[in-house]
């Protein structure tokens, strides 16, 4: 599908809800632009608006997730966390960003300058590209791609290139080891993540993200898909935690072993870009998890409880989406502040000996369920 609809197409097939939608606003803007400018300019202007929206969302997400992580960790570690800058310390991450912006971006003498400076930008671009097919609210999507899920798994695997590049070009043994670990880890865990995504694709019968969401109008896949969907969900969460290099799989950084792993030599804004990309990646994988297993922006419905379902419909779809996503982010943060780190061989054992066979078997099971229409 060409990149025409920077603002999404209204979807009316399953439009059983009378949920408030952002489509009206985007359609109005689209119409007004079409009246005022020629179609080429409309396309350009819409793409610029979409680009600014992504960059804005990117920056805001980075700030919010950093302060969220610090507050969650503080809560788990019986301490207060940042509480000086702004009300209840909520502007702390803004202050930190400012600090990183004005800091000198050092390039070590022995480093490969070109690759060294390119690596954080690739990390950032990959994270930004991943934003495109995600449905943030009802009918609100930057790029309605018919292979949305495939696109996400394909692009997210580019992340490893930036990490390998950073590790190699730093000319530092710790960085190199971190990058090698990370390469082995991301490539392995992608398989499980991909297979658990496939289970939902099999159930929903589509790779298109809105299609998958609409297929959950009568219940989320995690409830409809019996135990196999639950297994797939658990494997998905484990695999994406590893894929985003988060604890307990943070071997690429592993500060007690490798000081800071692949970004040991990075400072200032270049470091901040890695940092930002990591958090946005966490957001994206959680958004994908929420979309596939928890119904994306679909409200929570219980069978025939009409009144309850009606009340749920009044909650805006964006709140449903962000609520589910942030719940998953919280779970991943919970892991980080509770578990010790795995060793590299244990990490690979877990993937190749346990998660991969289980998810393969699970996929076969789900295929059988989908063919025999055993799901709800």
């Amino acid at each position: 599908m060409p990149l025409t609809s920077a603002f999404s197409i209204p979807f009316s097939r399953f439009d059983i809800h009378k949920m408030w939608s952002l489509t009206d606003i985007t359609t109005n803007i689209h119409d007004w632009l079409n009246e005022t400018f020629s179609p080429t300019w409309v396309l350009i202007i819409e793409m610029v608006i979409a680009g600014i929206a992504v960059i804005g969302l990117f920056a805001v997400l980075g700030l919010v997730l950093v302060i969220m992580e610090r507050k969650v960790s503080a809560w788990m570690q019986i301490r207060l966390g940042p509480n000086r800058v702004g009300p209840k310390g909520l502007l702390q991450s803004l202050a930190d960003t400012l600090k990183l912006l004005v800091k000198e971006g050092l390039t070590p003498g022995g480093a490969d300058k070109f690759l060294f400076n390119l690596a954080p930008i690739i990390a950032l671009v990959v994270a930004m590209l991943l934003m495109a097919p995600i449905a943030f609210a009802k009918d609100f999507q930057l790029w309605n791609l018919n292979i949305g899920v495939l696109y996400v798994s394909a692009v997210s695997s580019l992340m490893v290139i930036s990490i390998l590049m950073a590790g190699w070009s730093s000319n530092n043994k710790y960085s190199l080891m971190g990058a090698m670990r990370s390469g082995a880890q991301i490539v392995s865990y992608e398989l499980s993540a991909g297979l658990s995504i496939l289970t939902i694709v099999v159930l929903a019968g589509s790779l298109n993200i809105p299609d998958i969401i609409y297929s959950q109008a009568d219940g989320w896949w995690i409830f409809k898909g019996h135990i196999p969907a639950l297994i797939a969900f658990v494997i998905f969460i484990i695999a994406v935690t590893a894929e985003t290099n988060r604890a307990p799989f943070d071997l690429a950084e592993a500060e007690s072993e490798l000081t800071a792993g692949f970004h040991t030599e990075y400072s200032g804004m270049k470091f901040a870009l890695f940092f930002l990309a990591e958090y946005v990646n966490v957001f994206i994988v959680c958004a994908i998890g929420a979309t596939l297993f928890l119904g994306g922006w679909m409200p929570f419905h219980i069978g025939n409880w009409e009144a309850f379902n009606h009340v749920m419909d009044y909650i805006p779809s964006s709140i449903w989406f962000f609520g589910k996503t942030f719940f998953l982010i919280f779970v991943i943060m919970w892991f980080r502040w509770t578990f010790p780190r795995l060793r590299i061989d244990q990490l690979l054992n877990l993937e190749w000996k346990y998660l991969l066979p289980i998810s393969m078997f699970n996929l076969i099971l789900v295929t059988a369920i989908a063919i025999l229409k055993w799901h709800f």
Binding site: Q77, F339, P340, R341
Partner: protein, 371 residues
């Protein structure tokens, strides 16, 4: 497999862990030869925090040199001071009042708990869990507060002097210690829930960093490191000092020899220490807290040696006296130095990540190794 790793020379990667590195908890410098992630050799380099404490002690009087020893193993400052006081008392044949002896033992055991708490948090941090550190410090703070009230210091106490202790206990001491025991008993299960029972933790610890009984003895390992390998070496049991022979406690022994065994020894030792404190806290005899001694101490000519059990192992103090007011020569036998020497044997053939876990279970305090 092990020999193959040890003999092949291709693909060697030499990395310096330290002197500034988050895993070494100080300025220890390890030169590690790696084959991929597998460790071929670990070579500790010392001396980054050498302050020539032994030499300094030679120009300090027998009352003064105790203050320097608090800075050696700063996590068991009381016990270091205790060793010095014991050695001077042994040389001058000073009779220490029973009250002072009981106070000393209580303080020692509180220090041991505080030290093990810090070790527990720091070791969990070494293997990548951050939260236990704060849980450990929650209880450790209570001990520090108790110390602060009585000794006026939280880390380098300088509380024990030849002949007893420096000042009497704070009136609140007994109540606070009992409160601490209650707090500790109510919180200690969190340690097991958060770390000991964790499947990742156990897989990181089990069968890792194996130290056989023979190796432990030949490297001169002491304390929980040796007891994890089944070597009975608790000085409090073998050569009791002060009132240790009057209290009931059991020498904690584990036979595993791996990181988990050393971990379990320390966890169980905390419970033993609590039990020692419980036996003594209600039975502190009345009387003097310090024996009457001369203002200037002069040791008779000769050589004197005492040993005590610190939180890390056996601390020996060897004084050579020429009959003057200052020692002719002082030598400390620090537990950390011998325990560190076993690291190479333990680490060969295992992964880099495990080295950090092993160092965690050795409970190294670098100023204690270097002095």
């Amino acid at each position: 497999m092990l020999e193959e790793v040890a003999t092949s020379t291709e693909g060697d990667l030499v990395i310096n862990v330290g002197p500034q590195h988050p895993a070494t908890h100080g300025v220890l410098h390890l030169v590690i030869t790696l084959n991929g992630e597998t460790i071929k050799k670990v070579e500790p380099h010392l001396g980054y925090i050498h302050r020539s404490i032994e030499k300094m002690c030679e120009s300090l009087t027998y009352r003064q040199f105790i203050y320097v020893t608090s800075r050696m193993d700063y996590l068991s400052a009381h016990i270091n001071n205790h060793a010095c006081a014991l050695c001077v008392e042994k040389a001058m044949q000073i009779e220490v009042p029973e009250r002072a002896q009981v106070i000393r033992v209580i303080m020692d055991e509180l220090t041991r708990i505080a030290s093990h708490e810090l070790w527990w948090g720091a070791m969990a941090m070494d293997i990548g869990a951050f939260t236990p550190f704060f849980h450990a410090f929650r209880e450790r703070e209570t001990i520090n507060d108790i110390m602060e009230e009585t000794c006026g210091a939280r880390l380098t106490m300088n509380y024990m002097v030849p002949g007893g202790v420096m000042i009497d206990l704070h009136p609140d001491f007994q109540r606070k210690v009992k409160e601490f025991i209650k707090l500790f008993r109510s919180k200690v299960h969190e340690y097991d829930e958060l770390v000991t029972g964790n499947i990742i933790f156990r897989s990181r610890m089990k069968d890792v960093g194996f130290l056989s009984k023979e190796d432990a003895i030949s490297f001169g390992c002491t304390g929980p490191t040796a007891r994890g390998s089944g070597v009975s070496c608790d000085i409090r049991k073998l050569y009791p000092y002060d009132v240790y022979n009057k209290v009931q406690f059991e020498e904690v022994l584990e036979t595993g020899g791996d990181s988990l065994a050393r971990y379990m020894v320390r966890i169980r030792e905390m419970h033993q220490s609590i039990s020692i404190i419980e036996q003594l806290i209600d039975n502190i005899p009345e009387g003097d807290f310090q024996a009457k001694t001369k203002a200037v101490l002069k040791l008779p000519k000769g050589e004197f040696y005492t040993r005590v059990e610190t939180a890390r192992g056996e601390l020996g103090l060897y004084i050579v006296s020429e009959g003057a007011t200052t020692p002719y020569r002082i030598k400390f036998r620090s537990p950390g130095f011998s325990n560190l020497s076993a690291l190479d044997t333990m680490a060969r053939g295992s992964k880099l990540g495990d080295l950090v876990a092993m160092m965690g279970t050795l409970d190294l305090v670098i100023p204690d190794i270097d002095r």
